[in-house]
Protein backbone atom coordinates (compact mmCIF):
# COMPACT_ATOMS: atom_id res chain seq x y z
CA UNK A 1 0.00 0.00 0.00
CA UNK A 2 1.05 3.55 -0.56
CA UNK A 3 2.04 5.09 2.76
CA UNK A 4 -0.83 6.67 4.63
CA UNK A 5 -1.91 10.08 3.50
CA UNK A 6 -2.76 12.74 6.03
CA UNK A 7 -6.38 13.69 6.56
CA UNK A 8 -5.91 17.08 4.92
CA UNK A 9 -4.51 15.45 1.81
CA UNK A 10 -7.40 12.99 1.76
CA UNK A 11 -9.92 15.81 1.97
CA UNK A 12 -8.00 17.54 -0.79
CA UNK A 13 -9.11 14.76 -3.14
CA UNK A 14 -12.76 15.72 -2.78
CA UNK A 15 -14.59 18.44 -4.66
CA UNK A 16 -15.76 21.30 -2.46
CA UNK A 17 -17.77 24.26 -3.73
CA UNK A 18 -17.42 27.40 -1.72
CA UNK A 19 -20.37 28.63 0.33
CA UNK A 20 -20.75 32.23 1.38
CA UNK A 21 -21.39 31.38 5.02
CA UNK A 22 -20.40 28.58 7.39
CA UNK A 23 -23.24 26.04 7.53
CA UNK A 24 -22.28 24.75 10.98
CA UNK A 25 -21.50 27.13 13.82
CA UNK A 26 -20.67 26.64 17.46
CA UNK A 27 -23.34 28.49 19.40
CA UNK A 28 -21.88 31.51 21.17
CA UNK A 29 -20.90 30.72 24.75
CA UNK A 30 -20.83 26.96 24.12
CA UNK A 31 -17.17 26.73 23.17
CA UNK A 32 -16.26 24.99 26.43
CA UNK A 33 -19.33 22.82 26.71
CA UNK A 34 -18.35 19.20 27.37
CA UNK A 35 -20.83 18.00 24.73
CA UNK A 36 -18.85 19.87 22.11
CA UNK A 37 -15.63 18.09 23.02
CA UNK A 38 -17.06 14.88 21.58
CA UNK A 39 -16.82 16.40 18.13
CA UNK A 40 -13.03 16.34 18.39
CA UNK A 41 -13.20 12.54 18.46
CA UNK A 42 -16.09 11.74 16.18
CA UNK A 43 -15.71 14.10 13.21
CA UNK A 44 -14.43 11.96 10.33
CA UNK A 45 -12.84 15.01 8.76
CA UNK A 46 -11.08 16.06 11.98
CA UNK A 47 -12.43 19.59 11.74
CA UNK A 48 -12.87 20.21 15.46
CA UNK A 49 -9.96 20.92 17.78
CA UNK A 50 -9.51 22.15 21.31
CA UNK A 51 -7.31 25.19 21.92
CA UNK A 52 -5.16 26.09 24.98
CA UNK A 53 -8.08 27.77 26.68
CA UNK A 54 -10.09 24.58 26.47
CA UNK A 55 -12.38 26.00 23.82
CA UNK A 56 -13.46 23.89 20.89
CA UNK A 57 -12.89 25.41 17.47
CA UNK A 58 -14.36 24.38 14.13
CA UNK A 59 -12.85 24.87 10.68
CA UNK A 60 -15.67 24.30 8.26
CA UNK A 61 -13.58 23.79 5.10
CA UNK A 62 -13.52 20.11 4.33
CA UNK A 63 -16.85 19.29 5.96
CA UNK A 64 -18.25 16.07 4.51
CA UNK A 65 -21.77 16.97 5.68
CA UNK A 66 -22.03 13.60 7.34
CA UNK A 67 -24.02 14.82 10.33
CA UNK A 68 -21.99 13.04 13.01
CA UNK A 69 -21.33 16.20 15.03
CA UNK A 70 -25.02 17.07 15.04
CA UNK A 71 -25.88 13.64 16.44
CA UNK A 72 -22.99 13.48 18.92
CA UNK A 73 -23.09 17.02 20.30
CA UNK A 74 -26.69 18.02 19.72
CA UNK A 75 -28.30 21.21 18.51
CA UNK A 76 -28.07 22.95 21.85
CA UNK A 77 -24.39 23.54 21.20
CA UNK A 78 -24.32 23.58 17.41
CA UNK A 79 -26.23 25.61 14.88
CA UNK A 80 -26.41 23.02 12.16
CA UNK A 81 -27.66 23.26 8.59
CA UNK A 82 -26.64 21.91 5.21
CA UNK A 83 -24.74 24.32 2.96
CA UNK A 84 -26.65 26.34 0.39
CA UNK A 85 -27.74 24.52 -2.75
CA UNK A 86 -24.85 23.74 -5.09
CA UNK A 87 -22.30 24.41 -2.33
CA UNK A 88 -20.20 22.16 -0.14
CA UNK A 89 -18.85 18.71 -0.90
CA UNK A 90 -19.79 17.05 -4.21
CA UNK A 91 -18.92 13.37 -4.26
CA UNK A 92 -17.91 11.87 -7.57
CA UNK A 93 -18.13 8.24 -6.43
CA UNK A 94 -20.08 8.19 -3.16
Amino acid sequence: MSELMGLKAKLGLDVFKHDKEAHIKIKPGMEKDPRLKRAVWVCPAGLYSENDQGEVELTIDGCLECGTCRIACGIEVLEWNYPNGGCGVQFRFG
Binding site: M1, S2, L4, M5, L7, K10, L11, L13, D14, K17, R38, V40, W41, V42, C43, P44, A45, G46, L64, E65, C66, G67, T68, R70, I71, A72, G74, I75, N81, Y82, P83, N84, G85, G86, G88, V89, Q90, F91, R92, F93, G94
Partner: protein, 428 residues
Protein backbone atom coordinates in the same frame (compact mmCIF):
# COMPACT_ATOMS: atom_id res chain seq x y z
CA UNK B 1 -56.77 25.27 -3.75
CA UNK B 2 -54.60 25.34 -6.88
CA UNK B 3 -51.17 23.81 -6.31
CA UNK B 4 -47.99 24.10 -8.34
CA UNK B 5 -47.52 20.33 -8.23
CA UNK B 6 -49.25 17.15 -7.17
CA UNK B 7 -46.16 16.21 -5.20
CA UNK B 8 -42.83 17.72 -4.24
CA UNK B 9 -40.11 15.22 -3.40
CA UNK B 10 -37.25 16.56 -1.31
CA UNK B 11 -33.93 14.80 -1.84
CA UNK B 12 -32.60 12.99 -4.88
CA UNK B 13 -31.22 9.92 -3.13
CA UNK B 14 -32.61 6.45 -3.72
CA UNK B 15 -35.80 7.01 -1.74
CA UNK B 16 -36.55 10.33 -3.43
CA UNK B 17 -35.77 9.11 -6.91
CA UNK B 18 -37.81 5.95 -6.43
CA UNK B 19 -40.76 8.01 -5.20
CA UNK B 20 -40.57 10.64 -7.96
CA UNK B 21 -40.04 8.03 -10.68
CA UNK B 22 -43.10 6.07 -9.59
CA UNK B 23 -45.30 9.13 -9.10
CA UNK B 24 -44.42 10.49 -12.55
CA UNK B 25 -44.97 7.09 -14.10
CA UNK B 26 -48.59 7.32 -12.96
CA UNK B 27 -48.95 10.62 -14.80
CA UNK B 28 -48.88 12.95 -11.80
CA UNK B 29 -46.99 16.24 -11.73
CA UNK B 30 -43.95 15.92 -9.53
CA UNK B 31 -41.02 18.17 -8.69
CA UNK B 32 -37.84 16.79 -7.12
CA UNK B 33 -35.50 19.18 -5.34
CA UNK B 34 -31.92 18.16 -4.60
CA UNK B 35 -29.34 20.31 -2.86
CA UNK B 36 -26.29 18.75 -4.54
CA UNK B 37 -24.92 19.63 -7.97
CA UNK B 38 -26.48 16.37 -9.13
CA UNK B 39 -28.19 13.38 -7.57
CA UNK B 40 -25.59 11.36 -5.72
CA UNK B 41 -23.31 14.34 -5.05
CA UNK B 42 -24.08 14.13 -1.33
CA UNK B 43 -24.77 10.45 -0.97
CA UNK B 44 -22.56 7.80 0.53
CA UNK B 45 -23.05 4.09 0.82
CA UNK B 46 -20.82 1.16 1.63
CA UNK B 47 -21.64 -0.41 -1.52
CA UNK B 48 -23.96 -3.34 -1.71
CA UNK B 49 -27.45 -3.26 -3.14
CA UNK B 50 -29.65 -6.37 -2.86
CA UNK B 51 -31.88 -6.44 -5.92
CA UNK B 52 -34.33 -9.25 -5.21
CA UNK B 53 -36.67 -7.35 -2.91
CA UNK B 54 -37.00 -4.38 -5.26
CA UNK B 55 -36.47 -5.81 -8.73
CA UNK B 56 -40.16 -5.95 -9.63
CA UNK B 57 -40.92 -2.45 -8.41
CA UNK B 58 -38.81 -0.93 -11.18
CA UNK B 59 -38.86 -3.55 -13.92
CA UNK B 60 -37.31 -1.35 -16.63
CA UNK B 61 -34.53 -0.03 -14.52
CA UNK B 62 -31.97 -2.72 -13.95
CA UNK B 63 -30.88 -3.88 -17.35
CA UNK B 64 -28.93 -0.74 -18.20
CA UNK B 65 -28.23 0.48 -14.68
CA UNK B 66 -24.61 1.41 -13.92
CA UNK B 67 -24.08 -1.25 -11.27
CA UNK B 68 -20.47 -2.18 -10.53
CA UNK B 69 -19.97 -5.92 -9.92
CA UNK B 70 -22.32 -8.70 -8.85
CA UNK B 71 -21.22 -10.16 -5.54
CA UNK B 72 -20.00 -13.68 -6.15
CA UNK B 73 -17.85 -14.24 -3.05
CA UNK B 74 -18.47 -13.37 0.55
CA UNK B 75 -15.93 -13.26 3.34
CA UNK B 76 -16.21 -12.43 7.00
CA UNK B 77 -13.08 -11.84 9.03
CA UNK B 78 -12.90 -11.69 12.76
CA UNK B 79 -9.92 -9.60 13.74
CA UNK B 80 -7.89 -9.53 16.87
CA UNK B 81 -4.87 -7.28 17.33
CA UNK B 82 -2.38 -9.42 15.48
CA UNK B 83 -4.43 -12.20 14.00
CA UNK B 84 -7.66 -12.82 12.18
CA UNK B 85 -9.92 -15.62 11.17
CA UNK B 86 -11.72 -15.53 7.87
CA UNK B 87 -14.73 -17.49 6.74
CA UNK B 88 -15.33 -17.54 3.04
CA UNK B 89 -18.62 -18.35 1.45
CA UNK B 90 -19.14 -19.37 -2.17
CA UNK B 91 -22.56 -20.49 -3.27
CA UNK B 92 -24.01 -21.58 -6.57
CA UNK B 93 -26.86 -19.12 -6.12
CA UNK B 94 -24.40 -16.23 -5.96
CA UNK B 95 -23.17 -16.77 -9.48
CA UNK B 96 -26.52 -17.46 -11.12
CA UNK B 97 -28.35 -14.72 -12.98
CA UNK B 98 -30.39 -12.79 -12.01
CA UNK B 99 -27.75 -11.97 -9.45
CA UNK B 100 -28.73 -11.22 -5.86
CA UNK B 101 -26.60 -8.25 -5.07
CA UNK B 102 -24.25 -5.74 -6.66
CA UNK B 103 -21.63 -3.31 -5.52
CA UNK B 104 -22.58 0.24 -6.48
CA UNK B 105 -21.24 3.78 -6.39
CA UNK B 106 -23.91 6.33 -5.65
CA UNK B 107 -22.24 9.19 -7.51
CA UNK B 108 -22.77 7.19 -10.67
CA UNK B 109 -25.95 5.28 -9.92
CA UNK B 110 -28.05 8.11 -8.51
CA UNK B 111 -27.10 10.44 -11.34
CA UNK B 112 -28.18 7.85 -13.87
CA UNK B 113 -31.38 7.06 -11.97
CA UNK B 114 -32.20 10.79 -11.99
CA UNK B 115 -31.94 10.79 -15.80
CA UNK B 116 -34.42 7.90 -15.97
CA UNK B 117 -36.77 9.75 -13.62
CA UNK B 118 -36.58 12.83 -15.85
CA UNK B 119 -37.52 10.66 -18.80
CA UNK B 120 -40.61 9.58 -16.88
CA UNK B 121 -41.52 13.24 -16.55
CA UNK B 122 -40.14 14.25 -13.17
CA UNK B 123 -39.11 17.91 -13.04
CA UNK B 124 -35.73 17.82 -11.31
CA UNK B 125 -34.07 20.90 -9.94
CA UNK B 126 -30.60 20.38 -8.51
CA UNK B 127 -28.45 22.80 -6.51
CA UNK B 128 -31.46 23.85 -4.45
CA UNK B 129 -31.79 23.30 -0.76
CA UNK B 130 -35.25 23.13 0.74
CA UNK B 131 -35.18 25.42 3.76
CA UNK B 132 -38.58 24.93 5.26
CA UNK B 133 -42.02 23.44 4.98
CA UNK B 134 -45.09 25.54 4.43
CA UNK B 135 -47.53 24.40 7.08
CA UNK B 136 -51.06 25.79 7.28
CA UNK B 137 -53.59 24.63 9.85
CA UNK B 138 -51.47 21.59 10.59
CA UNK B 139 -51.27 20.49 6.96
CA UNK B 140 -48.09 20.62 4.89
CA UNK B 141 -48.85 22.71 1.82
CA UNK B 142 -45.45 22.88 0.16
CA UNK B 143 -41.85 23.86 0.68
CA UNK B 144 -39.73 26.96 0.80
CA UNK B 145 -36.53 26.96 -1.24
CA UNK B 146 -34.25 29.84 -2.21
CA UNK B 147 -36.75 32.33 -0.80
CA UNK B 148 -39.60 31.00 -2.93
CA UNK B 149 -42.76 29.19 -1.91
CA UNK B 150 -43.57 26.10 -3.95
CA UNK B 151 -46.86 24.40 -3.28
CA UNK B 152 -48.01 20.81 -3.65
CA UNK B 153 -50.76 18.51 -2.45
CA UNK B 154 -48.17 16.39 -0.71
CA UNK B 155 -44.49 16.60 0.18
CA UNK B 156 -42.44 13.41 0.24
CA UNK B 157 -39.45 14.07 2.50
CA UNK B 158 -36.56 11.84 1.41
CA UNK B 159 -33.89 14.13 2.78
CA UNK B 160 -31.77 11.46 4.38
CA UNK B 161 -30.82 10.39 7.85
CA UNK B 162 -30.90 13.77 9.60
CA UNK B 163 -34.21 14.70 7.94
CA UNK B 164 -34.38 18.29 9.07
CA UNK B 165 -37.77 18.38 7.35
CA UNK B 166 -39.23 15.58 9.45
CA UNK B 167 -38.13 17.55 12.50
CA UNK B 168 -39.85 20.66 11.15
CA UNK B 169 -43.02 18.65 10.52
CA UNK B 170 -42.89 17.40 14.11
CA UNK B 171 -42.66 13.77 12.94
CA UNK B 172 -39.40 13.12 14.75
CA UNK B 173 -36.92 14.59 17.20
CA UNK B 174 -33.24 15.27 16.52
CA UNK B 175 -31.32 11.98 16.32
CA UNK B 176 -29.45 10.59 19.31
CA UNK B 177 -26.05 8.82 19.39
CA UNK B 178 -27.31 5.35 20.40
CA UNK B 179 -29.52 5.19 17.31
CA UNK B 180 -26.86 6.18 14.82
CA UNK B 181 -23.55 5.04 13.42
CA UNK B 182 -21.11 6.91 11.26
CA UNK B 183 -19.54 5.37 8.18
CA UNK B 184 -16.47 6.72 6.44
CA UNK B 185 -14.71 5.29 3.46
CA UNK B 186 -12.15 5.69 0.74
CA UNK B 187 -12.44 4.89 -2.92
CA UNK B 188 -9.16 3.32 -3.91
CA UNK B 189 -8.54 3.00 -7.61
CA UNK B 190 -6.86 -0.11 -8.98
CA UNK B 191 -6.68 -1.59 -12.45
CA UNK B 192 -9.42 -3.97 -13.40
CA UNK B 193 -7.04 -6.86 -13.83
CA UNK B 194 -5.33 -6.20 -10.50
CA UNK B 195 -8.69 -6.34 -8.78
CA UNK B 196 -9.66 -9.53 -10.54
CA UNK B 197 -6.33 -11.18 -9.72
CA UNK B 198 -6.21 -10.15 -6.08
CA UNK B 199 -9.77 -11.11 -5.32
CA UNK B 200 -9.94 -14.14 -7.56
CA UNK B 201 -12.69 -12.76 -9.72
CA UNK B 202 -13.78 -13.48 -13.24
CA UNK B 203 -15.36 -10.87 -15.48
CA UNK B 204 -17.96 -8.87 -13.61
CA UNK B 205 -17.79 -10.97 -10.46
CA UNK B 206 -17.23 -9.02 -7.30
CA UNK B 207 -16.22 -9.68 -3.72
CA UNK B 208 -17.73 -8.48 -0.47
CA UNK B 209 -15.61 -8.59 2.66
CA UNK B 210 -16.65 -7.69 6.14
CA UNK B 211 -14.46 -7.33 9.20
CA UNK B 212 -15.27 -7.19 12.88
CA UNK B 213 -13.40 -6.90 16.14
CA UNK B 214 -10.19 -4.94 16.32
CA UNK B 215 -11.08 -2.83 13.24
CA UNK B 216 -13.35 -0.78 15.47
CA UNK B 217 -11.29 -1.40 18.63
CA UNK B 218 -14.13 -3.55 19.80
CA UNK B 219 -16.69 -0.83 19.36
CA UNK B 220 -20.04 -1.63 17.78
CA UNK B 221 -19.54 -1.75 14.03
CA UNK B 222 -17.13 -3.19 11.50
CA UNK B 223 -15.06 -2.69 8.42
CA UNK B 224 -16.06 -3.37 4.83
CA UNK B 225 -14.46 -3.79 1.48
CA UNK B 226 -16.41 -4.04 -1.78
CA UNK B 227 -14.87 -4.40 -5.20
CA UNK B 228 -16.12 -2.06 -7.90
CA UNK B 229 -15.20 -2.23 -11.56
CA UNK B 230 -12.00 -0.25 -11.22
CA UNK B 231 -11.79 0.57 -7.56
CA UNK B 232 -12.50 -0.80 -4.13
CA UNK B 233 -14.67 0.83 -1.49
CA UNK B 234 -12.92 0.46 1.84
CA UNK B 235 -14.46 1.80 4.98
CA UNK B 236 -15.57 1.57 8.57
CA UNK B 237 -18.93 1.85 10.24
CA UNK B 238 -18.97 2.52 13.98
CA UNK B 239 -21.68 3.39 16.48
CA UNK B 240 -21.55 7.06 17.44
CA UNK B 241 -22.30 6.32 21.09
CA UNK B 242 -19.36 3.91 21.21
CA UNK B 243 -17.15 6.44 19.54
CA UNK B 244 -17.91 8.86 22.35
CA UNK B 245 -16.82 6.38 24.99
CA UNK B 246 -13.54 4.83 26.18
CA UNK B 247 -11.25 3.72 24.70
CA UNK B 248 -11.16 7.11 22.96
CA UNK B 249 -10.04 7.03 19.39
CA UNK B 250 -10.35 9.60 16.65
CA UNK B 251 -12.66 8.27 13.99
CA UNK B 252 -10.35 8.83 11.01
CA UNK B 253 -7.53 6.96 12.78
CA UNK B 254 -9.59 3.78 12.70
CA UNK B 255 -9.55 3.79 8.93
CA UNK B 256 -5.82 4.45 8.78
CA UNK B 257 -5.12 1.59 11.16
CA UNK B 258 -7.42 -0.63 9.10
CA UNK B 259 -5.47 0.17 5.95
CA UNK B 260 -2.24 -0.76 7.67
CA UNK B 261 -3.46 -4.21 8.65
CA UNK B 262 -1.48 -6.71 6.58
CA UNK B 263 -4.72 -8.44 5.59
CA UNK B 264 -5.88 -5.20 3.93
CA UNK B 265 -2.58 -3.62 2.95
CA UNK B 266 -1.78 -6.29 0.41
CA UNK B 267 -5.21 -5.97 -1.20
CA UNK B 268 -4.92 -2.24 -1.83
CA UNK B 269 -1.21 -2.08 -2.53
CA UNK B 270 -0.39 0.34 -5.34
CA UNK B 271 -3.93 1.70 -5.32
CA UNK B 272 -4.62 5.39 -5.50
CA UNK B 273 -7.17 6.92 -3.16
CA UNK B 274 -9.48 9.18 -5.13
CA UNK B 275 -12.20 10.09 -2.67
CA UNK B 276 -12.86 10.24 1.04
CA UNK B 277 -16.45 10.42 2.22
CA UNK B 278 -18.52 10.01 5.36
CA UNK B 279 -22.17 9.79 6.32
CA UNK B 280 -24.35 9.04 9.33
CA UNK B 281 -26.46 5.85 9.26
CA UNK B 282 -29.68 5.28 11.18
CA UNK B 283 -29.49 2.01 13.06
CA UNK B 284 -32.00 2.27 15.84
CA UNK B 285 -34.19 -0.30 14.13
CA UNK B 286 -37.93 -0.73 14.48
CA UNK B 287 -38.27 1.06 17.78
CA UNK B 288 -36.62 4.22 16.47
CA UNK B 289 -38.59 4.62 13.25
CA UNK B 290 -40.13 8.06 12.81
CA UNK B 291 -43.81 8.63 12.49
CA UNK B 292 -44.12 7.85 8.79
CA UNK B 293 -46.68 10.39 7.64
CA UNK B 294 -48.67 13.42 8.57
CA UNK B 295 -51.20 15.61 6.87
CA UNK B 296 -49.73 16.42 3.45
CA UNK B 297 -46.39 14.74 4.15
CA UNK B 298 -44.73 11.33 3.90
CA UNK B 299 -41.24 10.25 4.99
CA UNK B 300 -39.22 7.64 3.11
CA UNK B 301 -35.74 6.13 3.22
CA UNK B 302 -33.22 7.12 5.87
CA UNK B 303 -35.40 10.12 6.67
CA UNK B 304 -37.88 7.70 8.24
CA UNK B 305 -35.14 5.58 9.81
CA UNK B 306 -35.28 2.75 7.26
CA UNK B 307 -31.74 1.55 7.58
CA UNK B 308 -30.49 -1.37 9.58
CA UNK B 309 -27.10 -2.16 10.98
CA UNK B 310 -26.74 -5.56 12.51
CA UNK B 311 -23.16 -5.26 13.49
CA UNK B 312 -21.23 -5.83 10.33
CA UNK B 313 -23.66 -5.29 7.53
CA UNK B 314 -25.69 -2.20 6.82
CA UNK B 315 -28.80 -2.38 4.73
CA UNK B 316 -30.57 0.78 3.74
CA UNK B 317 -30.70 1.04 -0.01
CA UNK B 318 -33.39 -1.57 -0.65
CA UNK B 319 -35.48 -0.03 2.10
CA UNK B 320 -34.97 3.43 0.61
CA UNK B 321 -36.06 2.24 -2.83
CA UNK B 322 -39.01 0.28 -1.49
CA UNK B 323 -40.26 2.92 0.93
CA UNK B 324 -39.97 5.52 -1.86
CA UNK B 325 -42.03 3.22 -4.04
CA UNK B 326 -44.74 2.68 -1.41
CA UNK B 327 -44.82 6.40 -0.60
CA UNK B 328 -45.51 6.96 -4.29
CA UNK B 329 -48.35 4.43 -4.20
CA UNK B 330 -49.86 6.33 -1.29
CA UNK B 331 -49.57 9.61 -3.21
CA UNK B 332 -51.25 8.06 -6.23
CA UNK B 333 -54.10 6.72 -4.07
CA UNK B 334 -54.48 10.11 -2.37
CA UNK B 335 -54.68 11.81 -5.74
CA UNK B 336 -57.41 9.40 -6.84
CA UNK B 337 -59.33 10.16 -3.67
CA UNK B 338 -58.41 13.84 -3.97
CA UNK B 339 -57.61 13.82 -0.28
CA UNK B 340 -54.13 14.31 1.11
CA UNK B 341 -54.95 14.27 4.81
CA UNK B 342 -53.23 11.80 7.09
CA UNK B 343 -56.18 9.37 7.06
CA UNK B 344 -55.66 8.82 3.35
CA UNK B 345 -51.88 8.83 3.51
CA UNK B 346 -52.05 6.18 6.24
CA UNK B 347 -52.22 3.62 3.45
CA UNK B 348 -48.45 4.12 3.20
CA UNK B 349 -47.88 2.46 6.55
CA UNK B 350 -50.29 -0.32 5.61
CA UNK B 351 -48.40 -1.02 2.39
CA UNK B 352 -45.11 -1.05 4.26
CA UNK B 353 -46.53 -3.40 6.89
CA UNK B 354 -47.49 -5.86 4.19
CA UNK B 355 -44.08 -5.67 2.55
CA UNK B 356 -40.60 -7.02 3.28
CA UNK B 357 -39.65 -3.67 4.76
CA UNK B 358 -41.65 -3.89 7.96
CA UNK B 359 -41.31 -7.66 8.13
CA UNK B 360 -37.54 -7.22 8.24
CA UNK B 361 -37.71 -4.41 10.73
CA UNK B 362 -39.95 -6.42 13.01
CA UNK B 363 -37.83 -9.54 12.69
CA UNK B 364 -34.73 -7.61 13.56
CA UNK B 365 -36.45 -5.54 16.20
CA UNK B 366 -34.11 -6.78 18.91
CA UNK B 367 -31.03 -6.80 16.76
CA UNK B 368 -29.65 -3.43 17.75
CA UNK B 369 -29.77 -4.30 21.43
CA UNK B 370 -28.44 -7.83 21.11
CA UNK B 371 -25.61 -6.74 18.93
CA UNK B 372 -24.80 -3.85 21.23
CA UNK B 373 -23.28 -6.50 23.49
CA UNK B 374 -19.61 -5.50 23.33
CA UNK B 375 -18.56 -9.12 23.77
CA UNK B 376 -19.33 -9.70 20.09
CA UNK B 377 -16.90 -7.04 19.01
CA UNK B 378 -14.19 -7.50 21.63
CA UNK B 379 -14.28 -10.72 23.47
CA UNK B 380 -15.20 -13.30 20.83
CA UNK B 381 -12.74 -11.99 18.22
CA UNK B 382 -10.00 -12.30 20.84
CA UNK B 383 -11.13 -15.70 21.99
CA UNK B 384 -11.42 -17.11 18.49
CA UNK B 385 -8.05 -15.68 17.54
CA UNK B 386 -6.38 -17.25 20.55
CA UNK B 387 -7.92 -20.66 19.99
CA UNK B 388 -6.80 -20.64 16.37
CA UNK B 389 -3.34 -19.43 17.28
CA UNK B 390 -2.84 -22.28 19.73
CA UNK B 391 -4.29 -24.81 17.35
CA UNK B 392 -1.98 -23.87 14.50
CA UNK B 393 1.11 -23.08 16.49
CA UNK B 394 3.89 -25.63 16.64
CA UNK B 395 6.04 -24.52 19.55
CA UNK B 396 9.67 -25.48 20.11
CA UNK B 397 8.57 -28.11 22.59
CA UNK B 398 5.75 -30.56 22.19
CA UNK B 399 2.42 -29.34 20.86
CA UNK B 400 -0.44 -29.44 23.31
CA UNK B 401 -3.27 -31.82 22.56
CA UNK B 402 -6.19 -30.24 20.86
CA UNK B 403 -8.94 -30.85 23.39
CA UNK B 404 -7.14 -29.31 26.35
CA UNK B 405 -6.22 -26.33 24.17
CA UNK B 406 -9.81 -25.59 23.40
CA UNK B 407 -10.89 -26.39 26.93
CA UNK B 408 -8.38 -23.92 28.32
CA UNK B 409 -10.37 -21.11 26.71
CA UNK B 410 -13.82 -22.56 27.03
CA UNK B 411 -14.23 -22.74 30.78
CA UNK B 412 -17.65 -23.37 32.24
CA UNK B 413 -18.12 -19.70 33.06
CA UNK B 414 -17.21 -18.78 29.53
CA UNK B 415 -19.66 -21.27 28.08
CA UNK B 416 -22.47 -19.98 30.23
CA UNK B 417 -21.80 -16.41 29.16
CA UNK B 418 -21.70 -17.55 25.57
CA UNK B 419 -24.99 -19.34 25.98
CA UNK B 420 -26.58 -16.15 27.23
CA UNK B 421 -25.13 -14.07 24.40
CA UNK B 422 -26.24 -16.46 21.72
CA UNK B 423 -29.68 -16.87 23.21
CA UNK B 424 -29.93 -13.15 22.52
CA UNK B 425 -28.83 -13.69 18.96
CA UNK B 426 -31.59 -16.24 18.41
CA UNK B 427 -34.09 -13.42 18.74
CA UNK B 428 -32.83 -11.97 15.48
Amino acid sequence: MEKDFDAIVVGGGLAGLAAAYTIADAGLEVLLLERGDYSGAKNVTGGRLYLNPVREMFPDLWEKAPLERFIAHEELSIMDKERSITVRYDGAELVQAPYQSYSILRGKFDRWFAKQAEKKGVAIVNKNRVDDLIIENGKVEGVRAGGEDLTAHVVVACDGVLSLLAEKAGLRKPGVPQDHAVGFKEIIELDRTTIEDRFNLEGDEGAARLFMGEVTRGKFGGGFLYTNKESVSLGIVVGIKDLMEEPMVQAPDLLDAFKLRPEIARLIKGGETSEYSAHVIPEGGYNSLSKLYGSGILLAGDAAGFSMNIGVTVRGMEYALASGYYAAQAVIKAKEADNFESETLAVYEKLLNESFVMTDFKNFKDAPRVMENPRFFQHYPQLAGNVMKDLYEVPAGSKARIYPTVKKYLTFGEMWAMFKDFRGVKKI
